[in-house]
């Protein structure tokens, strides 16, 4: 630890690093000669989409490459010592003590059968830093340091008793326990709500200023990187595309890929698609043709085994969506937004309230009439990996809805599937493939194609772009916009991401704890938010603080 304060030597220096993965019979390169450095106390963001090699590079730095991965050449110098060829045993001496990792998914990164205190204490014990009373005291101090309320209680709790944000704080506590020189944060907030994300990033910032720890922030979100990092390293296909100070890179990106990333990041770009919407909404006026009408919707779920009343997931929500526009429903996890749309598409009966879709009152439907009603409204799911049957070909997936209604001749079905396939921007050869051979973005296109083949009036998009990389997300949003223009579709767009909402939606409803806290045209909600909660959400959008884009 002596050399960490030496100004001459960077904490981390990666030079000409090449890594490949063994798959099948060959080695497939994942990182091609990447070089970068992290100075003491600096935050460096490693930005790129999935497959860019950012996680592979981070794993190599901490010696946690998958067993089929191998460092081909290059050096990873930690305070001047090359650790790229170290054995696992050697790495054990520095992991946690000099480099530590904040993993991506707080849900699966903690051991469910051990208490929080035991897991935080483990790292102190492994490195022989503390034991007994002293250990307990230090664990509580660490938990307090990362901003957990009632740290003594938390230390005795199990991971499932904590929320996602709290678990991420615990993981950060483990990472800073031994005051390492470098923390690698691998997508530390991508599984969290925006407001929680902001608090976690603030925490990492505070700890950095307090301890002078350098942070390598691995992220796909340029907004997060722009706001929190000193320097940016943009990776694409395992190559460093661009490196430099954040303000310089964002103000004058040199590589076309960086320019693309900046244009695609919803939080950094100006809302362009919104212009047409505002015009249309005002032109239609109050007498317009509302295709979705929701009035005083209440959805309750019984709580078996408890004396309390039923859980009220959606409480008195009302909104109207004019034909051909996009209405966004925004909220954090647990706000009731998914419950609302599941009731609207007819997967569950509302406790009370009225829903009318294209002139049909949902309460009058059941059995066969409900099945016929499904032609009018289609749902696209959040996770394109789970919503496509892995055993069907793409052709079968898209064709399936046609088989459910009045018989369509085989040749006509084929024509329809092929035309919709090219409509969503997929090659015709994709028809014979199975979902696992497609990327996430391609799968989401298939899911959209399946939703469109019945020519519905309303398409409900439940977090449909949240699981995708920014560039893919931007392409899918473009596609949705185009389809709306050509087919006159009405979208109900559920999202936790206000930046995306601002980009695509015309009107918006903000939900919190099942209640409507704010509503209206997107521009008004963003510029004059009616509730504190909306203001907090808007403030939490990453990248807004950056001078270049404020």
């Amino acid at each position: 630890m002596t050399s960490s304060t030496d100004p001459g030597i960077p904490v981390l220096e990666v030079s000409d690093l090449a890594i490949s993965y063994h798959h099948g019979d060959r080695y497939h390169p994942a990182v091609h000669g990447a070089s970068f450095r992290v100075e003491p106390g600096e935050v460096v963001a490693l930005v790129g989409e999935s497959g860019s090699g950012k996680t592979t590079a981070a794993q190599a730095i901490i010696g946690l490459l998958a067993t089929n991965g191998r460092v081909d050449r290059g050096a990873i110098k930690l305070n001047g010592t090359d650790i790229s060829r170290w054995s696992d045993k050697q790495f054990k001496t520095i992991r946690g003590a000099r480099i530590s990792l904040v993993p991506q998914d707080p849900g699966s990164s903690l051991n469910p059968v051990k208490t929080i205190g035991a897991q935080v204490g483990e790292i102190l014990r492994i490195h022989g830093e503390a034991r007994g009373r002293d250990l307990e005291r230090r664990v509580v101090a660490l938990l307090e340091c990362v901003g957990l309320s009632e740290p003594e209680l938390r230390a005795r709790q199990y991971p499932h008793e904590l929320s996602g944000g709290m678990r991420q704080r615990v993981l950060i506590a483990i990472a800073i326990a031994l005051k390492p020189e470098l923390i690698i944060a691998d997508e530390p907030t991508s599984a969290l709500d925006v407001t929680v994300q902001k608090r976690i990033l603030d925490l990492i910032d505070e700890l950095r200023t307090e301890y002078g720890t350098a942070v390598l922030l691995v992220t796909h979100d340029l907004g997060v990187a722009a706001e929190r990092a000193d320097r940016l390293i943009v990776l694409q296909g395992g190559r460093v595309q661009e490196e430099g100070r954040v303000s310089e890179v964002l103000a004058s990106p040199r590589s076309p890929y960086t320019r693309q990333l900046i244009a695609d990041a919803p939080s950094l770009s100006r809302p362009a698609a919104r212009r047409r919407a505002a015009v249309r909404v005002s032109a239609l006026g109050p007498t317009s043709d509302d295709v979705v009408i929701v009035e005083q919707l209440v959805q309750e779920f019984p709580r078996p085994g408890r004396d309390e009343g039923p859980l009220r997931a959606v409480d008195n929500v009302s909104f109207r969506v004019p034909r051909g526009t996009t209405h966004a429903i925004v909220g954090e996890s647990g706000s009731g937004k998914t419950t609302t749309v599941r009731t609207i598409v007819g997967f569950q009966k509302p406790t009370s309230g009225r829903i009318q879709i294209d002139g049909t009152d949902l309460s009058t439907l059941g059995g066969e009439t409900l099945r016929q009603f499904r032609r009018k409204i289609q749902l696209v799911y959040q996770n394109p990996y789970a919503s496509l049957d892995p055993r069907q070909t793409i052709f079968e997936i898209i064709e399936e809805p046609l088989l459910n209604f009045s018989p369509v001749p085989r040749s006509e079905r084929r024509d329809k599937v092929m035309s919709i396939l090219s409509r969503v921007g997929l090659q015709e050869t994709a028809a014979a493939r199975r979902p696992h051979t497609l990327s996430g973005g391609q799968r989401q296109r298939v899911a959209i194609a399946r939703a469109l083949i019945l020519e519905p009036q309303v398409v409900v998009l439940d977090e449909a772009v949240s699981a995708l990389d920014v560039t893919v997300q931007a392409r899918i949003l473009d596609l949705l916009y185009e389809l709306q223009q050509d087919l006159g579709l009405t979208y109900l767009f559920v999202s936790h991401d206000l930046a995306v909402v601002r980009r695509i939606a015309d009107t918006v409803s903000v939900l919190r704890g099942g209640r409507l806290v704010d509503e209206g045209p997107v521009a008004r909600v963003f510029e004059q938010p009616a509730s504190d909660y909306t203001r907090e959400l808007i403030k939490a959008i990453p990248g807004r603080r950056h001078p270049a884009f404020a």
Partner: protein
């Protein structure tokens, strides 16, 4: 886009998948672990014994040779002879068909009845589900050997009846597995999406639930095949299976028991064959599990 284009691209796509499948097979053959290869070899040999026993031995399995009783294993009689002068190797080879067909009938019965019950339980209303699964629980509560002995006493002795008795004991296991798989698949997004696009209950069952839930059922069937061979041999050993002089493996072990101090090979050899087949079936079922997961 013309129809011709479509057909053309489809043929092209098919051609590609065909060649990739061949490549995959070739790669599979190269990476086949030795223990798995050995397991397949054992099962294939036993299967050939059952199909064409005359290819493997020239002795008659039921008629003894005078003056050649209780011979030690030698070049003439590979595994020796029994008390009636019958060649033990020939008896094992000819016995394969009884044990294998019995195991097949048992597993077939278990799969068909068990999976049907499980799929029904997993996809219908809560109440019928409870009724079916409680019956299955009762079946599970009875020790398998006791259950199959009771069934044989009801149905009468014989190879087929023994197989049915063994099959009934595996119904409960298949039903539970099939139900849990169906419940898992039914909760998935793609099943909900299918309902959301207007599919009927039967269409979803046929297109999504069955294909996605049966993979592990098939893997477990291979495992049950091994234990069915063992159970049928047990019943044969206890005298509830095929009557003598049928060269059923369990019966061979039972008959050899009387001479175990002087002619140990009479019990050991068929016993080893049963163990090998069971182990091979286990190993193969394990490899199914790996491929699917």
């Amino acid at each position: 886009m013309t129809t011709f284009d479509t057909i053309h691209s489809e043929i092209a796509a098919r051609g590609r998948t065909g060649s990739s499948r061949r490549e995959r097979l070739a790669r599979l053959a190269r990476h086949l672990p030795p223990s798995l290869a050995l397991s397949w070899l054992i099962l294939a040999t036993v299967l050939l014994w059952a199909i064409a026993p005359a290819l493997f031995t020239s002795y008659n399995p039921v008629e003894g040779i005078g003056g050649a009783q209780l011979r030690r294993p030698d070049a003439l009689h590979l595994l020796g002879t029994d008390a009636l002068g019958r060649d033990l190797y020939a008896r094992i080879v000819y016995g394969a068909v009884h044990s294998l067909s019995g195991a097949l009938v048992a597993v077939g019965l278990g799969i068909i009845v068990g999976t049907t019950l499980g799929v029904i339980a997993g996809s219908v209303s809560r109440r019928l589900d409870d009724v079916i699964m409680r019956i299955v629980d009762v079946l599970l509560a009875i020790p398998p050997l006791l259950l199959s002995l009771s069934i044989i006493i009801l149905l009468g002795f014989g190879t087929v009846n023994a197989a049915i008795a063994v099959g009934v004991t595996s119904v409960a296991g298949f039903a539970r597995l099939a139900r849990s798989e169906v419940v898992r698949v039914r909760r998935s997004d793609y099943v909900e999406a299918a309902f959301g696009s207007g599919a009927t209950f039967w269409a979803v069952l046929w297109r999504h639930t069955l294909p996605n839930s049966l993979t592990s059922v098939i893997a477990i069937a291979a495992l049950h095949f091994g234990s069915a061979v063992l159970q049928i041999s047990t019943l044969g050993f206890l005298g509830y299976g095929a009557p003598p002089p049928t060269p059923e493996w369990g019966l061979l072990i039972a008959e050899g028991r009387n001479y175990i101090s002087t002619a140990w090979w009479l019990t050991t050899a068929p016993g080893v064959v049963v163990v090998l087949v069971v182990l091979a079936a286990n190993r193969i079922s394990q490899s199914f599990g790996k491929v699917t997961s």
